[in-house]
């Protein structure tokens, strides 16, 4: 460290001495002459910066584009619209970028000081100004129209056949809830939350102190952490909420995201196009997973708040969901019909499993 600082100071001193010396030289040579020489050097740098910069931008693109989503298909129907709109915007802004940067640096180089040239007194020109007010306005109108058309599609009501999953963010993880057999999400209240077995605060019992009534619809709700299962080609509507601070359901592969706000549910719907398996092939990455990244600063473990989406076929989904037990039974094993049939040993097993699970949860939360 000290070595690094010493080197930096040394380099500074050298640069400073050179700069100082050339200032003296300039004074000796005549300041006017030195200034003109400097002007030529900087004029040259202007055009050099433009050329090297444009080549550099091309090279940078070459190097990095394969690592971005630009070369990957969008995993959702909505994302395809985002992608095509993104490419149009890139084209329009790209053209403006190249033209204006070339004009800027070329003029700087071309019109550097020259004794022979008289600068052109050109204070204004209405025609030119109108032209470059109108052209950007037209280009922007196009972008606004396309953008808003997509925006209203994205934010429209989800189709009737959409499956619905409730997503709840918490420090630092995701909880998913499916409505269960009755297709209805039971009521919940945040004061019912119990980290041991009721992470969402479902209204499983009467609690007169906080005015909560047992809601039978909540008894068959399936609650899962970390991994959400959705079905290929079937629209899915997420009802998004948060248990503590603001989070954000970031779905980069689907090109979408939506905040999770405590107290104010939000929604987002999309149609996944490829199963996780298909995406493994498409990306050539055997470890591929659809990740949910938290995209809104939520505390010190924000960067590790990961969820996973498994996109599967309808058959696989049906198989998966059939295996899931409503969360209610983990908390009230005595009400589990499967326990009623085969009484004592299984009950203790499930209870153990439930306790083990809640202990694990507790540990996670402490971390």
């Amino acid at each position: 460290m000290i070595f690094v600082i010493a080197v930096i100071i040394l380099v500074f001193l050298i640069i400073f001495q050179i700069a100082k010396a050339s200032e003296y030289v300039a004074v000796l040579k005549g300041e006017e002459r030195a200034r003109k020489e400097n002007n030529k050097v900087n004029g040259f740098f202007m055009i050099a910066f433009l050329i090297v910069g444009l080549i550099g931008a091309y090279w940078c693109n070459d190097l990095l584009v394969d690592k971005t989503l630009l070369v990957q298909p969008s995993a959702s129907l909505q994302g395809e619209k985002v992608d095509s709109m993104l490419k149009l915007t890139l084209t329009i802004t790209g053209i403006v970028f190249v033209i204006t940067q070339i004009a800027l640096f070329w003029f700087a180089f071309r019109y550097q000081e020259n004794e022979k040239r008289k600068p052109f007194f050109f204070p204004h020109n209405n025609t030119m100004e109108i032209i470059w007010t109108v052209i950007p306005a037209i280009a922007l109108t196009v972008l606004v129209v396309i953008g808003l058309r997509n925006w209203f599609t994205f934010t429209s009501d989800a189709p009737k056949n959409a499956m619905v999953v409730e997503v709840t963010g918490k420090q630092f993880g995701w909880i998913f809830r499916y409505a269960g057999e009755d297709g209805v999400f039971g009521k919940k209240y945040y004061k019912m939350i119990d980290p041991a077995n009721n992470s969402l605060g479902l209204n499983w019992r009467d609690s007169s102190g906080i005015n909560v009534k047992d809601d039978p619809a909540s008894h068959d709700d399936i609650v899962q952490e970390q991994t959400m299962y959705i079905v290929k080609n079937k629209p899915v509507k997420l009802i998004i909420g948060s248990r503590d601070v603001i989070h954000d359901v970031g779905l980069s592969w689907f090109r979408l995201k939506m905040d999770a706000v405590p107290g104010t549910p939000t929604t987002l719907w999309f149609t996944p196009l490829y199963t996780t398996k298909e995406m493994k092939e498409k990306t050539g990455n055997p470890n591929f997973v659809y990740e949910i990244s938290c995209d809104q600063m939520c505390g010190n473990n924000h960067y590790a708040m990961k969820g996973v989406i498994e996109v599967v076929t309808q058959a696989e989904y049906d198989e998966y969901i059939a295996k899931q037990k409503p969360a209610y039974y983990a908390a009230f094993p005595e009400n589990d019909p499967s326990n009623l049939k085969k009484p004592i040993p299984v009950v203790s097993d499930t209870t153990k499993a439930a306790t083990a699970k809640s202990n694990e949860l507790l540990k996670k939360e402490k971390i």
Partner: protein, 608 residues
């Protein structure tokens, strides 16, 4: 010294009603005490310098913070034992802890946005230039102006002290969204650190309002004879709109903070509802809206980026015209576009909130208004470029930074068109694309405007030149470095890589940028070192720089160059000069430049 003597000799010539009582006093006792000259000064030029040097202090600290967190992002697997010596438990084992990382990111943002690019930029140049360029002896209220600085100073002290509290400074991001910022139990940084953060920001708002009101009043009421509004240099127009933006929007921010204080300390539920904190349990608060804060915050937050940008635009316009030896192209269009930007600045705040669950229809209105801002911005860019066209350009360091500003403003402005369109924002929001966008268009571009201003007006501030060669080195390395740092970040954003992550290695979707992150961090450190070179040049030149031998070193038209080389308090010796023309008669009728104080000749062409 000789200047002071001149000043003294001319006291009798001065017209009494032209000077304030306070100045009168000081002119007769020109041996000011150290305290009244350098500390509690009421001279706008000294207050400007105070803002500048305090801003520099924060720039170094804020820059150093970015170097530290870039160290984590670029070298997540390396250990740096000296970190533990430097920041103690925050750098245990030579690793920056996640807590420290978020504290650094947050403080870097807050400090750079408010303390450097608001106070350091507009505070410096509004103070220095407004009285000098409109032809006034000082601000309308020099005392309020002094208070403005000292409130900023107090804000600085409180903010600095927050770095040293046990639970750490605030670490929830510079936007301070509740509930995270409201709940100490949700994040250690939201404990004492956040209290101090709010206090510092409240003091800052006071400072900003005291300054802003003064700037507005001075520009409207204290212009010299002949200085009609349409003859004002564009710097003054820009600073005027900046001040208006600040005065109208900072109070809203303060109200947002006050509600936050209530939620934090007095059990109200403005922003809180339905919250269960791990390890604490369910909170009693119900019925609040976390989104309300975001509306209040961004009602300032968005005008704030123009508060940062407009002064840079104004100075760049002035510097480009002066050094291209050509009038600024489309003066009225430039004023008009500043005005349009100032109005629109108030009508676009919710574009920061497209994905908060905002009503989609409301969102669509904000898309329209946001993209509308591109029109006046485009006008400005085209006018700057046309100003260079067929000029006779002198590449002073200030001119280089002004050209650099235009280049960065184009690059960063165009990506604003992406993000302002909600259907793209829903993909790119809170990714590195946003980081790249606002650092280029607002951060680095405004920094370039500030550098341009410093190089251009340093001779006016200190009667010395900065070393030119160091200036050239400073510009080219910073320009190249800025693009190397922020250009590739667009690609990270296009991979969906979220911002404010401490470590990406566990993410299958975002871990492919290890080498790029290392590259960016390395360049960031070099660029930071280059800025130290500039600081050295600055402080060295104050004392040992080449002395100014002429009043008007750049051949400029504006009034500040008609003052003595080292103007005293009161600026002009004798009467304030009268103004006869606009500030941009460069190259007119074959004359290199015609200062504003030159009466219009009988045979002069009447193009403006």
């Amino acid at each position: 010294m000789s200047n002071e003597a001149t000043l003294h000799a001319n006291v009798d010539v001065m017209v009494p009603h032209e000077i304030h009582h306070g100045e009168h006093h000081e002119i007769h006792h020109h041996h000011e005490s150290f305290i009244s000259k350098y500390v509690f000064s009421q001279d706008h030029k000294m207050i400007g310098k105070q803002f500048l040097i305090t801003g520099m202090f924060w720039a170094v600290l804020g820059g150093l913070m970015s170097v530290l967190f870039r160290l984590q992002l670029g070298y997540p697997d390396s250990t740096f034992p000296w970190l533990e010596d430097l920041i103690g438990k925050w750098g245990k084992g030579g690793h920056i802890s996640a807590e420290a990382y978020y504290a650094l990111v947050t403080t870097h943002g807050t400090v750079l946005v408010f303390f450097v690019l608001t106070a350091g930029l507009s505070g410096t140049f509004a103070n220095l230039l407004i009285p000098l360029q409109v032809g006034a002896r000082d601000m309308a209220s020099p005392f309020m102006n002094m208070l403005s600085y000292w409130f900023f100073f107090m804000a600085s002290v409180v903010m600095l002290s927050s770095i040293f509290v046990e639970t750490g400074p605030f670490s929830g991001g510079w936007t301070a969204y509740p509930p995270l910022s409201a709940l100490g139990s949700a994040s250690p940084g939201s404990k004492t650190g956040m209290d101090l953060w709010i206090i510092a920001m409240a003091l800052f708002v006071v400072s900003s309002l005291l300054g802003g009101l003064n700037y507005i009043v001075t520009i409207l009421n204290m212009r010299t004879k002949g200085m009609s509004m349409t003859r004002l240099p564009l710097t003054i127009w820009a600073l005027f709109f900046t001040a208006v933006l600040g005065v109208l929007s900072f109070p809203v921010l303060l109200s947002g903070f006050i509600l936050l204080i209530f939620d934090r300390n007095f059990g109200t539920s403005f922003y809180l509802s339905d919250i269960y904190v791990n390890g604490v349990g369910a909170l009693p608060n119900e019925g609040g809206s976390a989104i309300l804060f975001q509306h209040l915050f961004w009602f300032l937050g968005h005008p704030e980026v123009y508060i940062i940008l407009l002064p840079a635009m104004g100075m760049v316009s002035e510097i480009l015209a002066t050094n291209a030896r050509k009038p600024i192209f489309g003066y009225m269009a430039m004023v008009g576009s500043l005005f349009a930007i100032a109005i629109l600045a108030f009508l676009v705040w919710a574009h920061h909130m497209f994905v908060t669950g905002l009503n989609p229809f409301l969102g669509s209105i904000f898309v329209l208004l946001t993209l509308l801002i591109a029109v006046p911005s485009a006008i400005k860019v085209f006018n700057w470029i046309t100003t260079l066209w067929r000029g006779n350009i002198r590449f002073t360091p200030a001119m280089l930074f002004a050209i650099g500003f235009v280049s960065l403003f184009i690059s960063g402005g165009l990506t604003g068109i992406w993000l302002g369109n909600s259907a793209l924002d829903i993909h790119l929001h809170d990714t590195y694309f946003v980081i790249a966008h606002f650092h280029i268009v607002m951060g680095v571009a405004s920094m370039f405007g500030m550098f341009a201003g410093i190089y251009h007006w340093f001779p006016k501030m200190y009667g010395k030149y900065l070393n030119n060669n160091l200036g050239y080195i400073h510009f080219w390395l910073t320009m190249i470095g800025a693009y190397l740092i922020f250009w590739p970040m667009h690609y990270e954003g296009l991979a969906g890589m979220p911002r404010r992550y401490y470590d990406y290695s566990a993410w299958e979707s975002f871990k492919q940028f290890v080498e790029l992150n290392r590259f960016i961090s390395t360049v960031a450190m070099i660029v930071f070192a280059v800025q130290l070179l500039f600081l050295f040049n600055f402080f060295y030149s104050i004392f040992k720089g080449r002395k100014l031998t002429t009043q008007n070193p750049w051949g400029s038209n504006t009034l500040e160059w008609t003052t003595p080389i080292n103007p005293g308090h009161g600026n002009w010796v004798g009467e304030i000069p009268e103004v006869y023309r606009w500030a941009y008669d460069y190259g007119k009728d074959g004359k290199d430049f015609i200062p504003q104080t030159t009466p219009v000749g009988a045979d002069e062409s009447t193009d403006h």
